[in-house]
């Protein structure tokens, strides 16, 4: 894996989130770990940045794990998903697997189980790096089609590759038709086979599908493989460039240790705001603007110098607020932070935004 994998962990219990964050740092691939204390928060984070693995609790308020996973599987079919739960219901486990989740794991109870869990996660992350089609791990699409044809099956394979979807019709072990991106028949088949990874599902066969592919599957697979080899050989070796642009200040702030959400905003009503990880940025924005205004005004009345920062906290969460240039900055953490940490991170963040 060229860069550190990113794991998103969703659980409503802040103590468990911290505990699992510590555990996950033991993974040999040294993943970047982001935390979400609700399903909505997890979806907001997934919307903002790509992740390699999503670990989700099932029992969460407002939006439970099954609801979150249903959305995640539909919107991010390539994302590996793991359910980590204390529930031991067989039916629930079946429902989770029916959603296409990669792993259903009971919360580990001892050190041995923890190690087993970490081994499974590392294995999932390495599969992500190798590619392959979900459902039959480490098998190429060619393998899957050969399996279907050799067993003389009738099926409709629906293959998803990022935003692209393709279909391959197999009847009685014969390739009948394929379709993707406006292409049909052999062209569509060749295009689908060029995808290196994705997900597939088997749908009921459609016996009435008109035949557009007349070659045998062996011949077609051979031709397609040759064409792909030739195009690979002809194409200059393209080395994917390393990302050279440094992360934006907001990305750097969001990646600070323990930071759960960030909101950088202009002070005037209607001025632009940028957020990372905030569940309901509009509501937070209103509160942040009003609170900053209130205490800046209070500072003037008390004649105690400029406002430096504001912290609000409980055992569940900690929020810091500071004026930055002409605007303001709100940062959130899960759980109460040690004294001094919030002010220090606010200062660092303000320096990044307003050097």
């Amino acid at each position: 894996m060229p860069s550190r994998p990113k794991i998103l962990l969703a659980d409503d219990d802040p103590d468990l989130l911290e505990l699992y964050r510590e555990l996950l740092t033991r993974l040999p691939s040294q993943p970047e770990i982001r935390l979400a204390n609700s399903g909505l928060k997890a979806l907001a984070l997934l919307e903002e940045e790509p992740f390699h693995l999503f670990i989700c609790d099932l029992k969460m308020p407002r939006m439970d794990g099954l609801q979150v996973l249903a959305v995640v599987r539909r919107k991010y079919p390539q994302l590996r998903t793991v359910v980590l739960t204390a529930l031991t219901d067989e039916q629930l486990r079946s429902r989770v697997y029916a959603l296409g989740v990669d792993l259903y794991w009971q919360k580990p109870g001892n050190e041995q189980e923890v190690q087993l869990f970490l081994d499974c996660l590392e294995s999932l992350l390495s599969r992500e790096a190798e590619g392959g089609f979900r459902g039959v791990q480490s098998k190429s699409l060619v393998d899957i089609i050969q399996l279907e044809c050799l067993s003389q099956n009738s099926t409709l394979l629906r293959i998803t590759h990022g935003p692209l979807t393709g279909r391959i019709w197999i009847l009685g072990g014969e390739l009948v038709d394929a379709e993707t991106e406006g292409l049909v028949g052999e062209e569509a088949f060749a295009r689908i086979l060029s995808w290196k990874s994705g997900t597939f599902e088997q749908l009921p066969p459609e016996p009435d599908r008109p035949r557009r592919i007349f070659k045998s599957y062996n011949a077609l697979l051979l031709e397609t493989a040759q064409a792909m080899d030739e195009s690979d050989a002809a194409a200059p070796a393209v080395v994917e460039p390393e990302r050279v642009t440094p992360p934006s200040p907001m990305e750097q702030i969001a990646a600070m240790e323990g930071v759960d959400c960030v909101l950088h905003f202009g002070r005037a009503e209607g001025s632009p705001a940028e957020s990372r990880g905030a569940e309901t940025p509009e509501v937070a924005l209103q509160w942040a603007r009003r609170t900053l205004d209130r205490f800046q005004h209070m500072g003037e009345r008390l004649a105690v110098g400029p406002l430096q920062d504001i912290e609000v906290s409980s055992w569940q969460q900690h929020v810091g607020l500071a004026p930055v240039g002409e605007g303001g900055l709100l940062m959130g953490w899960l759980g109460r932070q040690p004294p001094g940490r919030v002010a220090e991170q606010l200062r660092k963040a303000a320096a990044l935004l307003h050097p």
């Binding site: 937070a284 509160w287 105690v304 609000v312």
Partner: protein, 97 residues
């Protein structure tokens, strides 16, 4: 001969101490200097209560508030709808806290 009379404006000392307010912002008890303007103390109490109330509306379940100015630190804790509020003047020797 003095052409101008020298006037010395009285500098109001920074408040130091604590006070409690009820849920309506009424001052219940205070250890602040008795000459410190009560109107300012009440205003601060109301601002603290409003901040807690609006935080709840915004989905933040918080019980503690710290506001740091260059010259003063305010620490407040919500108490059954009211609040206890501490004010500490900040000097170069204690401003890190």
């Amino acid at each position: 001969m003095k052409w101008f009379r020298k006037t010395v404006s009285a500098l109001r000392p920074l408040p130091a101490g604590s006070f409690t307010v009820d849920r309506n912002g009424h001052l219940l008890a205070s250890t602040l200097p008795s000459d410190y303007p009560v109107s300012l103390v009440r205003e601060l109490g109301l601002h603290v209560l409003t901040t807690f109330r609006e935080a709840r509306t915004a989905g933040l379940s918080v019980t503690d508030l710290v506001v740091r100015y260059q010259g003063l630190k305010i620490a407040a804790r919500e108490l059954r709808g009211g609040a206890i509020i501490f004010v500490f003047p900040q000097t170069p020797f204690n401003s890190a806290s």
